[in-house]
Amino acid sequence: MADPVIEAIGLRKTYGDVEALRGLDLRVPAGSIFGLLGRNGAGKTTTIKTLLGMARPTAGRVRVFGLPADEQESSVAIRRRTGFVSEDKDLYDTMTLAQMIAFTRPFYPRWRRDLEAKYLRAFELPVDRTLKTLSRGTRTKAALLLALCRGADLLILDEPTSGLDPAASEDVLQALVRHVAHEDTTIVFSSHQIAEVDQIADRIAIVDRGRTVVSGELDDLRASYRRVQLVFADDAPEPGFRAPGIVRTRRERRVLTVLCDGGADLVVQEARALHPVSVDVTAVTLKEIFLETVAGREE
């Protein structure tokens, strides 16, 4: 496999007594649209901040484009090749969009004037209004334009659609997909909106309480995760499966439900020994994988 654009191993970050990251692992291949999925406070934003050198990891290793993200000089080189949109769509409120573009352009030798013109037109952005007067949706599009035009090899977007109505969210997601289709770019975006990750990501990592709990290609995950539902004549027996890949087992009166990551056949084999009335194996959605893995860890 080609060198990953981002590689984090055992990433830890503490703020005082709070452990924001507890050994997070991440591997983002070039050219992918990578969704970082997690609940609020799971560690997505802290992960992004460590990638961009805004926060220094307490322990672990993080490399972007093969460069250590926690060293000042490398971090500058990383940011030269990276576009970023923060969760709050941080921009200089007192500037107009035209001023923001004029301010940002000189920092990026590969600034794309063609994309600048294209997105100004496509997003219908007012260039002469101060940014504080823009609506949330327009502000997001302005932030996106400033990130997309950098000629970046990597786009890092923290909750790019947060606070947007469904139509504006769709505009933003479609713009991202179109951008990747035409440019040689890797996108990493964080979200707690499972539907939008499902819609545009080809790889995901589910982060929970500072750790990666699921990671991989979305199609592989969909193919490998299965729910095995066993119905018994009487109360379901205590589960004691030895098959590998069992993520979660839930027992409710006559029904025993097993979520497994691969090895569903082995689970079924073991289950037959318990003499269930019926055995049902079904595919699961990303939402189910997310809810089961995150909720499972909570209990």
Binding site: R79, S86, F103, T104
Partner: protein
């Protein structure tokens, strides 16, 4: 372009400071004939008290244009306003001002460069706030039939600028620890207040005080620049700005 953002962040503080000090300097020069008449008519002052001695000194200094300018402008108005605007120009606006802190941090520039650009813009503004009024005094003195050398005005301004840059450095350093603009400002002003208070409570401290250096008393009384004091203030200011850079580099956002 970082200088442009630093300018946008501080331009109103700078403009207000420059306008106030220019107007103040101009009014101080224009007020001299009136003060001369008042001083001539002033009754004898009882110098047995500290306050009496101070008043007597001011009256005595104000009998001549040079002494009047030093007592009214360089020792008082310029000192107070210079300290205030040095602190205001040094406070906030490092990374977060008017939003956009993460945007700034996402740019391909080191935090050291961010801080030094911000410091350079602030110091240029402070320089102008200090030197323009001083030169204006020299330029407008003939309007009241007096003269004040540009060399003397520059020497006074050098003392004020170098010493004020230490308060600028302090505010800048505090701004790397606090994300709001108010705490750095209030703490730095409180430090200046405490130094001023210490001068009053412990008179031997006056000779070593940075506020004395700011007034350019040595220039006024001897005609020479206080090189040792200037070097110490410059070193203090440089070390405060250097510490601010190190602090900003270490900080997590």
């Amino acid at each position: 372009m970082l200088w442009y953002k630093a300018w946008l962040d501080t331009r109103w503080r700078f403009t207000i400071g420059l306008a106030l000090l220019v107007c103040g300097a101009w009014l101080t020069v224009l007020g001299y004939p009136r003060v001369t008449r008042l001083v001539a008519a002033a009754p004898a002052i009882d110098t047995s008290t500290d306050l009496g001695r101070r008043l007597s000194e001011i009256v005595s200094l104000s009998r001549g244009f040079r002494g009047y300018l030093w007592a009214q402008w360089f020792r008082q108005t310029a000192l107070e306003m210079g300290t205030l605007f040095a602190v205001l120009l040094g406070s906030g606006g490092l990374v977060s001002h008017g939003g956009g802190d993460l945007y700034t941090l996402s740019l391909p520039v080191s935090r050291t460069r961010l801080l030094f650009t911000r410091a350079a813009v602030g110091l240029v503004e402070l320089f102008l706030i200090v030197f323009v009024p001083a030169l204006l005094i020299a330029a407008t003195a003939p309007a009241v039939g007096e003269s004040y050398g540009f060399g003397a005005a520059l020497a006074q301004a050098v003392c004020l600028f170098v010493a004020a840059s230490a308060f600028f450095g302090l505010a800048l350093l505090l701004s790397t620890s606090y994300s709001d603009v108010w705490r750095p400002m209030l703490i730095a002003l409180a430090v200046a207040f405490v130094v001023g208070l210490a001068q009053i409570r412990y008179p031997p401290f006056v000779s070593y005080s940075i506020l004395t250096l700011m007034t350019g008393e040595t220039v006024f009384r001897t005609g020479h620049l206080p090189w040792a004091g200037l070097a110490a203030a410059a070193a203090l200011s440089t070390s405060l700005i250097g510490t601010a850079a190190a602090n900003l580099t270490r900080r997590d956002y």
